[in-house]
């Protein structure tokens, strides 16, 4: 078990290392020069050279990358006019655009993305498992068809369409909810939930469709297995069979998918965040890419990679936890 975790952590570090190299490399292949953007209009060549030196862009890519890695592990010092700014480890540098530490930017955005992801995931699981279970039981044919239809629709609908529709309906037509803005959970839990409700629903429409399909297939499969026949032969009620046996079997693939999905939403719900004006990680990334804000782009990418790697490890651990036949080696 400990060996497994160590190997897992080692693998994760390798992935993140590779990822940072790729992002750095891609960035330098991009045709635009961030210094030109920062310098603005009417920039003289002398001024441009100054800016470039200040941003550290005058050194070779390899040197810059080395500096970056050093900063990440040990922290690093930036020249700021006459003074020196110390950026403590893990240092991801300062945004070219806003001059704020990237770590601070990320720390700012992460709670928003986490709120969005966790809420959406809980809603999706509740709806998905419920619908999947009902349609998996074969007892309600009509319901099964209905769920299937909705699942297909859920798959087909793009999130911005669902989002727009929800906004139009609840904020414009019915005026039941205010236009969403982000309110931190600590400030006002009710307002937090109220504002996030629509984005949660928008994401859950798609997500729960996937879960419903998976649950349905899992329930069907387990109900056809021999041990369910044994349970029947020993006088179990159908209800007990469904909840103690069938759902248990359906849970296995669901659990692993959920872990990966949480990470995916946290890192990449760009459309949803933009539509509902949520200042999350996805939004930060879009802005940074548009501005060629290298430190922020690298920071977000590494964070995303980190989340995905962690989620996969969590998924494996959960998989072993829910299925006793799985051994982690």
């Amino acid at each position: 078990m400990i060996g497994y975790l160590l190997r897992r952590v080692g693998g994760a570090l390798l992935v993140l290392f590779g990822l940072s190299i790729v992002v750095y490399g891609l960035f330098y292949l991009a045709p635009q020069d961030p210094a030109v953007l920062t310098c603005g209009k009417g920039c003289t060549p002398e001024r441009l050279a100054e800016v470039r030196a200040a941003m550290g862009l005058d050194r070779s890519v390899v040197t810059q990358y080395g500096e970056f890695l050093r900063g990440l592990v040990l922290g690093r010092d930036y020249p700021a006019g006459p003074d020196v700014r110390h950026c403590p480890a893990p240092c991801l540098g300062y945004s070219f655009e806003t001059d704020q530490p990237v770590t601070a930017l990320l720390a700012d955005r992460l709670p928003v993305s986490a709120s969005l992801a966790l809420g959406a995931e809980i809603l999706s699981l509740a709806v998905g498992i419920g619908a999947g279970l009902l349609s998996g039981l074969r007892r309600f044919r009509l319901l099964d068809r209905l769920v299937n239809g909705l699942v297909l629709a859920g798959y087909a609908l793009p999130v911005f369409l669902v989002g727009l529709f929800l906004l139009m309906l609840f904020c414009v037509q019915l005026q039941w909810l205010p236009f969403p803005t982000y309110v931190p959970l600590r400030t006002d839990p009710v307002a937090w939930a109220q504002n996030l409700l629509l984005p949660w629903i928008a994401l859950a429409v798609i997500q729960s469709a996937a879960y419903a399909r998976l649950t349905r297939a899992g329930v069907r499969q387990t109900l056809a297995e021999d041990h369910v026949r044994t349970a029947r032969a020993y006088g179990f009620t159908e209800r007990r069979i469904v909840f103690r046996r069938a759902l248990r079997g359906a849970l296995v693939p669901l659990v692993t998918l959920t872990a990966v999905d949480v990470a995916a939403i946290m890192a990449s719900a760009v459309l949803t965040e933009t539509m509902f004006g949520l200042p999350g990680v996805g939004q930060l990334l879009v802005g940074a890419v548009n501005q060629i804000d290298l430190p922020v782009v690298v920071g977000v990418t590494l964070l995303t990679g980190f989340l995905v790697v962690v989620a996969n490890a969590v998924a494996d651990l959960l998989y072993a936890a829910v299925d006793p036949r799985v051994q982690l080696r």
Binding site: G3, D226, H227, T237, R240, R329
Partner: protein
């Protein structure tokens, strides 16, 4: 006193009649065998007793201890399932839930029927696990089914059946998936359970030998009807119905000994086969799996050599090395003086265990048989293939059939025809009849000895079934943990086994003669007592 009385039971699935007017009685504490080949309606009967059929129409009467089961409410049936009548199923791995520990599953059943506390149910689970001789039951109750061996799983299922002190235990092919020694242990256990708890036993099996030792009376089924019934001793020794006679005749029996002193055709010298371990558990070097370990033997020209052993003893690995499908890790396998792996095609052929998966499902069987001929450069092998099909008892029209359109016995005939096609001198058969019904098995065995005689073949016959080997083979090699522990003339080995493992194997073989079966049970108990 009659515990279970079945009258004119009919079970049909749509148009198909699975059980067609079956009647029998089972006394309290008695043991009844239900025997028949696949499709005879045995299992359908078992499921019908407990109302476990989904989409079947039932008629007739099933009286269990004063309750009419065919008309009972679902609620009443649920109370009887497990508590009044307990089932032991065929596949113990899939019959237990993989997600719950063995102890929990037994305790759950007990709680369901008795309303006992968790603690009491847990104690009962440990108690019944001890009852079926699971070692260290308190600890093993916390294990999952996949952590048990096949025999232990079957014991666990029997423990589950015992949990609520049922009056009747229905065992549906409880030993089919098990090795012969484990099968004997399970049958002995069922017998012991019956005598100590007083529960009646309804034992369902395709194997007359299984039923012979464990039951008092027997019902022989065919196509959903009982063709004969009566005391086990009478039915199996002096059968009246023609079908029962056929079944008994199909049971393999010893043939007069032949002495073959031919030149060694296939020589195995110090053959080892090691496989890398399935997966590394740690950075330390792990033990290799020793499938075959230091086997030296000769296959003489013209003889039939049996290779017997239980699952995991390296039988199949050895068979594959004999035909050169895999190379030994060390040692040599030579055929008429040359390394068998260097010889191409023709002289050594193989008949595989599962004729369905060893034939390409997308090609006609004729094409499959024609392949080795084409390899030998025959441009139009069709007529030759049709001759072969006729030779193995099929029609030339079978050429254009696909494997799924044939029965199991017909598919194995195709497998034999394919092996015969390139005129081999040696055929290695790996469990060629283990997936077949007893009458089909007898036909295929007869075919094999016919073609052996006709084509002057040398046969290597790999099997877990000692009775079959005794009938077919001249000499036998007993394989245990990858090593040959005994090798000799069949009559010699079977009459005077030298190695303890051989003795254990032979004592475990089920026999159709009830007297002999009882004698062997005593012998097994004596052997077990000796060991402990």
């Amino acid at each position: 006193m009659t515990l279970l009385s079945v009258r004119d039971l009919r079970v049909s699935f749509g148009e198909t009649r699975a059980v067609d007017g079956l009647s029998f009685d089972l006394a309290a504490g008695g043991a009844l065998g239900l025997v028949g080949e696949s499709g005879s309606g045995k299992s359908a009967t078992a499921l019908a007793l407990l109302g476990l059929h989904h989409d079947a129409t039932l008629s007739g009467q099933v009286d269990f201890d004063g309750t009419e089961l065919t008309t009972a409410t679902e609620h009443r049936l649920r109370a009887i399932r497990g508590a009044g009548i307990a089932m032991v199923f065929q596949e113990p791995l899939t019959a237990l839930s993989p997600f719950h520990t063995v102890g929990d599953q037994i305790a759950e059943v007990y709680r369901l029927h008795t309303g006992a506390t968790r603690r009491a149910a847990r104690d009962r689970a440990v108690e019944v696990l001890g009852r079926v001789h699971i070692p260290d039951p308190a600890r093993r109750a916390g294990a999952y089914p996949h952590q048990f061996s096949g025999g232990m799983r079957q014991r666990a299922l029997i423990a589950m059946a015992l949990a609520c002190r049922p009056r009747l235990i229905v065992a549906d092919e409880p030993t089919t998936a098990l090795d012969v020694t484990v099968q004997a242990q399970i049958l002995d256990l069922l017998d012991e359970v019956r005598t100590t708890t007083g529960a009646a036993l309804l034992l369902i099996s395709h194997d007359l030998g299984v039923v012979a030792g464990a039951t008092e009376s027997v019902v022989v089924m065919r196509d959903g009807v009982a063709v004969e019934e009566g005391p086990t001793a009478t039915v199996l020794t002096t059968p009246r119905a023609a079908y029962t006679k056929d079944l008994l005749a199909a049971v393999p029996r010893p043939t007069p000994p032949r002495r073959i002193d031919g030149e060694p055709l296939l020589r195995l010298r110090g053959v080892h086969k090691h496989f890398p371990p399935p997966r590394r558990r740690s950075l330390r070097r792990t033990e290799k799996v020793r499938a075959v370990h230091d086997v030296t033997l000769d296959v003489r020209e013209g003889e039939s050599l049996g290779v017997v052993g239980e699952s995991g003893t390296g039988k199949t690995t050895l068979a594959r090395m004999m035909v050169g499908l895999i190379r030994p890790s060390s040692g040599t396998v030579t055929f008429a003086g040359t390394d068998v792996a260097r010889r191409r095609g023709r002289s050594v052929q193989m008949v595989f265990q599962d004729p369905m998966s060893s034939l390409n499902p997308r090609r006609t069987v004729g094409e499959s048989i024609a392949d080795p001929l084409r390899l030998l450069g025959e441009p139009a092998p069709r007529t030759r293939v049709e001759d072969l099909l006729v030779r193995v008892g099929l029609t030339p029209a079978a050429y254009d059939r696909y494997p799924h359109q044939l029965s199991g016995g017909m598919r194995q005939r195709v497998g034999i025809a394919r092996a015969l096609a390139p005129n081999p001198r040696l055929i290695v058969c790996d469990e060629p009849v283990s997936s077949l019904d007893v009458t089909t098995q007898a036909q295929v065995l007869a075919l094999l000895s016919d073609v052996r005689r006709e084509f002057g073949l040398t046969l290597v016959f790999v099997s877990h079934d000692l009775a079959v080997v005794r009938q077919v083979c001249d000499r036998v090699a007993v394989l245990h943990s990858g090593t040959v522990v005994e090798l000799g003339e069949v009559a010699e080995v079977y009459e005077r086994p030298q190695h303890p493992y051989t003795r254990e194997l032979l004592a475990a073989v089920p026999v159709a003669d009830p007297e002999e079966a009882r004698r062997r049970r005593e012998q097994r108990r004596a052997l077990a007592a000796q060991r402990s």
